[in-house]
Subunit: 258 residues, 2 copies
């Protein structure tokens, strides 16, 4: 079976439970399932770095997710993560190389934790479930359009040093499909004006592309192509959520501040 | 003039304005002066990394400090910093090496921002000024004790790979002086029980030592000895506040959660 068909089948199987989860699961339960997904992504991320003291690094990450789930706070979670990881390095006599890898892993972990925190806060608002689903649909649509437009019309490379597959044509495709999908969904289900939803959708697609590039840059820095093999045809979980990790917080923070 | 005398003179000259600022400047003004100090430390930190696009990196850091000063939020500031720095790297076609250095710089910046946020929040509480002054006095006392005890009785190295000067004897000296100083000050000026202030003071000294080591590790990773030359005899500003950057948030978060 080709990678593409495997990709489509995996997506089709995952779509109904994911949409059902976002739309119909009430907030505290939504949060715990979300926390489990973030934890899987964190484990995948940490595995990429091949720390010799992996167990401890994972345990501390789980602790900081718990601090968030129990509502202690975002900053407290980041503080625990940064301090805990550094202490592990210290106790295991880690060297300069390992500190750099730890800092890089932490860079991605901070993104995951921001994603998690904004996701929880957004979902607990009125219409929050529709906001999140719109962000997901827009991000997925832009992802699909970038893939097909890039494949058939892609010529000018976007930034070959970080992500050789990305082209300016693909980016245009991402905006052409992603912006109307997200804007139309948000305008339909949320009490927002049409021009505002378009502006928000532009932020969504632009930040999603940035997220995609950020994950590519990180994988390149650790010398890996896929983040894992959890999802057939999609690489790892991180590869699947990389755009959303930035696009949901970027738009969610704007929406929450209204 | 010896380094030690220069160090003592600088400290003596700085002490009165710093104590006056902490004790008597009301919260919004305190915050802006604090913000200026953090910005100086951030500039010093960024200079250590010798980014080719330094101006932009500094500008984005200033933007995220402003987000905090205007009360937008800690997470928003971290998000802006991480996204902005990455976009600078992307636009300047930064490579893998630069991404690693950026991640390392961001690791320290996150500490500085947590320090700033907790400092502002603590200071705005009733007795917050006394809490901060106690944390400073305890941290300074433990620093001085570690220096002299380590110099005269230091034998067993703590972790030569990161900070060759630190010894277990110095650490014991730090606890022996720092804990009673902080605990006595807090017990005198804050409505806290004596055993609690002792426990908090132990956290203060332990986390201060960790902060000191974290800054040493970071400097070692970028291959620098002093963080700057701002304070005669003390090296840079970062070298002076490194312990406090961790010890104030560690104890401040506990105190704020009471």
């Amino acid at each position: 079976m080709s990678t593409l068909s495997r990709r489509v089948i995996t997506a089709a199987l995952l779509l109904p439970p994911v949409v059902g989860w976002i739309l119909y699961m009430p907030s505290p339960w939504f949060d715990w399932v979300f926390g489990a997904v973030i934890m899987l992504a964190a484990v995948e991320l940490i595995a990429l770095f091949e720390f010799p003291q992996e167990k401890w690094v994972v345990g501390i990450s789980m602790g900081s997710l718990l601090l968030m789930l129990l509502g202690v706070g975002f900053m407290q979670a980041i503080f625990m993560l940064a301090l805990g990881w550094f202490l592990v390095l210290l106790c295991k006599h880690g060297d300069k190389q390992q500190l750099q890898r730890l800092a890089l892993a932490q860079w991605m972990m901070v993104w995951l934790l921001i994603f998690f925190w904004v996701g929880m806060q957004t979902h607990s608002q009125k219409h929050g479930n529709y906001f999140i689903l719109g962000a997901c649909l827009g991000t997925w649509a832009s992802d699909i359009a970038a893939y097909f437009v890039g494949r058939h019309f892609g010529r000018r490379k976007l930034c070959p040093a970080i992500s050789p597959g990305k082209t300016w044509e693909g980016i245009m495709g991402a905006f052409a499909l992603g912006v109307p999908v997200a804007a139309a969904f948000w305008a339909e289900y949320l009490p927002l004006s049409a021009p505002f939803t378009v502006a928000l959708a532009v932020v969504l697609v632009a930040s999603g592309i940035t997220g995609d590039l950020a994950e590519s840059a990180m994988k390149r820095a650790v010398g890996s192509k896929d983040s894992g093999h959890l999802l057939p045809g999609h690489g790892g979980l991180l590869d699947r959520i990389d755009a959303l990790v930035i696009s949901l917080p970027a738009t969610g923070m704007i929406w929450l501040s209204l």
